[in-house]
Symmetry: C2
């Protein structure tokens, strides 16, 4: 039986019972509006842990003032059904006041990993993410927590935080789940009109092209990025936030593709901001 939990006190009680039974705990933090990407994380947790806990909380502190917090999709009843079908044990869906109590005044700041790319486009975003994830990890105290590779930089920031703060939780990162035509699954995809949904394929196409170019021997990052931009800009209303070829660990820009390189992009299509990424497998030559 899946338990629906709304308060931190109830959650802690439930977790204590599981711990006393000696079961391991797998945790998947989400903002709801669940899709196959989330469910792949839940299944990974289900396969590895005795008890699976999923949180559904649209975290206000990771949204900027001009971002989509208020219109972010909320589909709680459907989410709960999907999770029950995956054999989730506890769904934690607290109110905003339950998570950020009166006087909340503590923030977690991750340094270099949080600065470029999303950090530059969304000031304060990773501060909000790191803080809420740390809070949730402290509430659930899981053995493992599961994050999606689609939010590549987020996973990097959380890994950094977990290592630096000596958290006893393993951070697992699972592959991107895509629609049959290649679009990366995202709760925000549902904002797109059918025509924009079609144009949004340019993100995936640009990553495919980058891969092809590298396979063909192209090693110059500027050339590859320029070709990717051409593909993206073939969609009439596409506005690029960034197209970046960077080191997968440091996120520092790469000039020559001489080893695994992260191709990451953020593009607005019809006012919906989409992100995607892949690792280009450049091999060292010579």
């Amino acid at each position: 039986m899946q338990k629906l939990i709304k308060t931190v006190a109830e959650l802690r009680e439930g977790i204590d019972v599981v711990r006393r039974r000696g079961q391991s705990i797998g945790f998947v933090p989400t903002m709801g509006a669940l899709h196959e990407g989330h469910l792949s994380l839940v299944r990974a947790a289900r396969a590895e842990c005795g008890c699976v806990v999923v949180s559904i909380f649209v975290n206000p502190t990771q949204f900027g003032p001009n971002e989509d917090f208020s219109k972010y999709p909320r589909t709680l009843d459907n989410d709960i059904e999907l999770l029950a079908a995956c054999g989730v044990n506890m769904v934690f869906c607290p109110s905003e006041n339950e998570v950020y109590r009166k006087g909340h005044d503590t923030w977690v700041e991750v340094g270099a990993a949080a600065v470029p790319l999303e950090g530059e486009c969304r000031p304060g975003h990773f501060r909000g993410v790191a803080t809420v994830v740390l809070k949730l990890l402290n509430m659930v105290r899981p053995d493992a927590a599961y994050f999606g590779q689609k939010d590549y930089q987020q996973a990097l920031v959380i890994r950094r935080m977990a290592a630096d703060l000596d958290l006893p939780t393993e951070i697992r990162v699972c592959p991107i789940v895509r629609e049959p035509d290649g679009l990366a699954m995202s709760s925000r995809n549902r904002y797109l009109s059918p025509a924009a949904r079609q144009r949004a394929l340019v993100l995936w196409k640009s990553l495919v092209l980058a891969n092809e170019l590298v396979e063909q021997g192209e090693r110059d990052a500027r050339t590859i990025a320029a070709r990717m931009r051409e593909v993206i800009e073939s969609a009439e209303d596409a506005r690029i936030d960034y197209v970046a070829l960077v080191d997968p660990d440091s996120l520092r820009p790469v000039e020559n593709i001489e080893g695994p390189t992260l191709a990451a992009l953020a593009v607005k299509i019809e006012n919906t901001r989409l992100i995607d990424n892949c690792i280009l497998r450049g091999e060292r030559r010579g």
Copy 2:
């Protein structure tokens, strides 16, 4: 038998054993150079918990560039003996590299509670304190952690952090322990020459005076602070960092003593920076 532990891995192993036994864990984080103030915390932990863990780590990140990190007293052998006599189970004394591993880049920032007083005099101090305490709490995962009231603001910052980050640890704050003549115990007292040690009594005397004034009915904070300053400045080389009468929760300055008020001071005597404080029990009238 008291166990001396140098690595996080060893510590986690030891803690796991204690947890499996079902024992509660009390934790006292220190920077060593132990005195009766520290030992009172250890005894409180000993009285309440099945297993007592004490850390000894002079945390570099809470010292400013012109502060006394390198000359901070280190008396490890003596500390270990004192702790053994108190029945401590584990002493954790890691190296700097063991605590701050390569690439450390995550910091905990507490807001308003960390801004005035020590926060103003020692920029970055509470960031270092909050970060190391959170790391240590994550390593030890204690039921209760013990802090001294002498570092009043530090205890407030840590309480705030523990509440905001949903730590499962109770934060306990124990009274100041004083020398027979009133000087608050501090590892830094040993910096003082015998003559300066005598002059340092002006801190305590100014707090006694403040208490007397309030008992006599004085309610004007500026008057009281001015009288305290007179007492302190009667020591020829005393340099005042602050003499503050503030709300004990918000640390905001108080104009009239209309309820419990924190009198807090930081004074340099002979280049040694000392702090002290007490709660003035002003009672509401009318």
